[in-house]
């Protein structure tokens, strides 16, 4: 790895010289399912009766989530007859004005299942830069002003890395490493990329199986650097984000669709239900605290809020489970169906179904209760759907469809 250091240092120095010195601000929603991929934000507030603050047109399809960084909203799209045009757009979070747009040409395959889109992966940010990837495995980094920092074409580099149903894993950034999972039936791997240059820091061969889950950061304690958790059909692998070295593994199998969530150091992994894992200090396999089949996340990722684990199944039933035992405490049917995952803040859970109905759930009610609803004005002519996971920032909610980005507020 030493050969990377002089150039990385130089690039970093250049970056410091040429980039504004942004720092990640409290309240940002910097990646898929927000800070630490938890689906929650400590300082956010979900309005009980959300209303549309503004909407902005989008130039292409997508089910990636918006992210919010330093007062800007970033969202990806794909357009063109084969979804071969890849867009990254930046909006002013305050009023929805488009600040800039960048467009790449897909260099990898753009075939997806009909409901899926090439813009399925949510970008991530470290507060200074945005790292965007599409199903074609094209990846690019920009500063917050839209200046290009680097580009990769991961299917050009690894030509059998693709999924004919579409790729959907969203990257995360840990320190100076962007962790991205390019896992599929054929040339399957995960990468740690130098955030400054986009070059490989490590490349890990992974199980040859289609995988739509996203990496999740996990910390042994507040002082320890986060490690990356890579989920697959084999289970859950913890890797050092800087070196890519394997730290520990849960090898009992896991979902390839809904991703894990971490709360208070415990990992809740979808695996024929949900399994709660407590990692050991010595990198031994994690202890299995419980395995509950009462919770069925299906394709949707769970979250932990107020000491309970929440998941939605395919039928639109929210299950609230005790994080200590995995026992279901209550179930609440809401209007589905869902593709996006729930997000939460305080005592409120927000779910947006495919038909664009946003529903706010009070989790303090004895069996949960829907407090408010808002129907988004979807394009009926194109039968568009809302397939993304919402983003939270302050008292605002950000949601996108194939044609529009909305900010919802009080």
């Amino acid at each position: 790895m030493s050969h990377f250091r002089p150039l990385s240092t130089l690039a970093l120095t250049l970056g410091m010289l040429t980039l504004p010195s942004f720092v990640s601000l409290a309240g940002d929603w910097p990646q898929f399912r927000g800070p630490d991929s938890t689906g929650t934000a400590a300082d956010a507030k979900i309005p009980d009766q959300p209303k549309i603050d503004w909407s902005a047109p989008l130039p292409g399809r997508g089910l990636s989530s918006p992210i919010v960084v330093a007062g800007k909203v970033f969202v990806t799209c794909a357009s063109g007859p084969k979804q071969e045009r890849l867009h990254l757009l930046c909006f002013n979070a305050a009023d929805g004005a488009r600040i800039w747009e960048r467009e790449l040409q897909a260099t990898g395959r753009t075939m997806t299942q009909g409901k899926n889109s090439v813009a399925a992966c949510t970008p991530c940010s470290d507060g200074r830069r945005v790292f965007a990837i599409w199903s074609s495995n094209d990846m690019a980094s920009f500063d917050l002003d839209g200046n290009l920092l680097w580009v990769r074409g991961l299917t050009v580099d690894y030509p059998n890395a693709s999924n004919s149903l579409g790729m959907a894993s969203s990257p995360i950034v840990i320190g100076e490493t962007v962790v991205t999972m390019i896992e599929n039936d054929s040339e399957s791997y995960s990468l740690g990329l130098d955030a400054n240059t986009g070059r490989n820091m490590w490349k890990l061969e992974r199980p040859k199986a289609a995988n739509w889950t996203s990496p999740v950061p996990w910390r042994a304690d507040a002082k320890s650097p986060p490690v990356a958790l890579l989920q697959s059909t084999k289970g859950l692998l913890a890797v050092d984000a800087t070196s890519g070295s394997r730290l520990w593994e849960f090898a009992q199998g896991a979902s390839t669709m809904s991703s894990s969530v971490v709360a208070s150091g415990i990992i809740y992994t979808p695996a024929s239900g949900v399994v709660a894992l407590s990692p050991n200090a010595n990198n031994a396999p994690p202890a299995e605290l419980w395995h509950s089949k009462q919770i069925n996340p299906n394709t949707i990722s769970p979250l932990v809020l107020d000491g309970r684990l929440f998941s939605i199944n395919g039928a639109g039933v929210i299950t609230a489970a005790d994080t200590k035992t995995g026992s279901a405490q209550w179930k609440l049917r809401v209007a589905g169906p869902f593709s996006g995952s729930p997000v939460g803040a305080g005592s409120r859970l927000l779910v947006v179904n495919e038909k664009g109905l946003a529903q706010v759930v009070d989790i303090t009610a004895p069996s949960g209760a829907v407090l408010g609803k808002l129907q988004l004005p979807l394009n009926q002519e194109t039968k568009e759907l809302v397939l993304c996971t919402p983003a939270l920032e302050g008292s605002h909610i950000y949601v996108r469809s194939d044609s529009a980005l909305w900010r919802l507020g009080d």
Partner: protein, 409 residues
């Protein structure tokens, strides 16, 4: 037909995405390799830094453009490219012609560096109300000797800068050698046909059929022409190969057949018999009647699971030339052209699409042998019944290349 292929698993020497899969992936930790690539470029890198800080707004930064075009595999050259990109953008609109000229000379990833620079140059110029060299851009589009990615980019930049001007140019691209540039012109004819009487529409749709290359537009034009009583030969339009000899089944238990070298990969002898899966197998002629050229192995072999089969055909090219062999399929497959392995993919039942895989290849004059291996796996769901592929020969614009012996096996 009886010949041997002793040179199996050699590269056909093409640069398509698919073809590169057969090469070993470079070890990302191979520091010696990285530094060998990077150190000679440090000189460029420092020159570009200087250029970026003192950018001459009236000249094209040649070194910077070269640096972007030189970006290689696994991000090699990204370090220098970041600064070069800024230099190119700072050079402004006067650098656009040089930027376009550089596009298509490196990799597709390098083209994205250039595309994003062109995109920002135009956006900045529009915001600053700076003039853009649109006449030069138009002339660049008109010159078909330029690379396809460069001409696509030029058209996109023209659209971004002046939509009306791009719209005015579009009809002239109806027979363009770049597939993507034809599309808009074809769509105009289709839209015009919808407003015509039957006779007028028929003429328009026939003109559209002559130019159309995209599957969705072709389907639409074909449907309209057939309603008007005009026959359309889709296999011929697209160049699907429909006449094959097939052999199988061979074993694919635990999906091991994909990597197992069965006799058809060692020799093509149409009169031979081999040990197959549970019985002797022989080559038999098989012709697909599917309009999109799908060769369904379930028809000659029955509904098999965990089975491998081969199809072989001869493509007679009147001249030696470059071509694209385009394949669609939802089973694991491998393809050889004249004994040289082109590409293979071990994905099952994730979806099928026409032109799903585009394999750049080179046809020799005369008989060219195309061998396809197609594997069915163990899955039992009703969406895993298909055991098929479709294959066509065309040029880069998707225009069919027909075999001189079309109709023979």
């Amino acid at each position: 037909m009886h010949f041997r292929m002793p040179w199996l698993f050699t590269s056909a020497g093409t640069r398509s995405i698919e073809t590169r899969a057969i090469r070993p992936v470079e070890n990302p930790r191979d520091g010696a390799h990285d530094m060998r690539f990077i150190l000679p470029r440090m000189k460029h890198f420092l020159a570009i830094l200087l250029l970026a800080s003192t950018a001459n707004l009236h000249s094209a930064p040649t070194d910077a453009l070269n640096t972007l075009a030189a970006v290689g595999r696994e991000g090699a050259g990204n370090e220098a490219a970041g600064a070069a990109w800024k230099a190119v953008v700072q050079a402004g609109p006067s650098g656009l012609p040089a930027l376009l000229a550089e596009t298509g000379k490196g990799s597709a990833v390098a083209d994205n560096w250039l595309r994003l620079a062109g995109d920002v140059i135009v956006a900045n110029a529009l915001r600053a109300k700076q003039p853009l060299p649109l006449a030069e851009v138009e002339a660049f589009i008109a010159d078909t000797s330029h690379t396809a990615p460069a001409r696509r980019l030029a058209f996109d930049l023209l659209q971004q800068a002046d939509r009306a001007r791009a719209d005015a140019l579009q009809p002239s691209l109806i027979q363009d050698p770049v597939q993507e540039l034809r599309r808009g012109a074809v769509q105009r004819i289709i839209d015009a046909a919808k407003t015509q009487t039957a006779d007028g529409a028929k003429g328009d749709y026939l003109r559209a059929l002559d130019a159309v290359r995209d599957e969705d537009q072709t389907k639409l034009v074909t449907a309209e022409l057939r309603k008007l009583g005009v026959p359309v030969d889709l296999p011929r339009h697209f160049g699907f190969l429909t006449k094959w000899n097939v052999i199988g089944p061979f074993d694919n238990t635990e999906r091991k057949g994909f990597d197992t070298v069965y006799p058809p990969e060692k020799e093509i002898r149409l009169d031979a018999a081999y040990d197959g899966k549970g019985a002797q197998v022989k080559w038999t002629p098989f012709e697909s009647s599917d309009e999109y050229g799908k060769l369904d192995f379930n028809k000659p072999f029955g509904m098999q699971k965990e089975a491998t089969a081969y199809a072989v055909t001869t493509f007679d090219s009147p001249v030696e030339r470059d071509a694209e062999l385009r394949l669609g399929g939802k089973n694991a497959w491998k393809v050889w052209l004249n004994g040289a392995f082109l590409f293979g993919r071990d994905e099952y039942h994730r979806g099928q699409q026409m032109d799903q895989y585009k394999l750049k290849c080179h046809l020799k004059k005369g008989a060219n042998t195309i061998l396809v291996k197609c594997c069915q796996n163990e899955q039992k769901e009703n969406w895993t019944v298909e055991w098929e592929f479709q294959l066509r020969m065309c040029d880069g614009a998707g225009t069919a290349i027909l075999s001189a012996n079309a109709g023979t096996k």
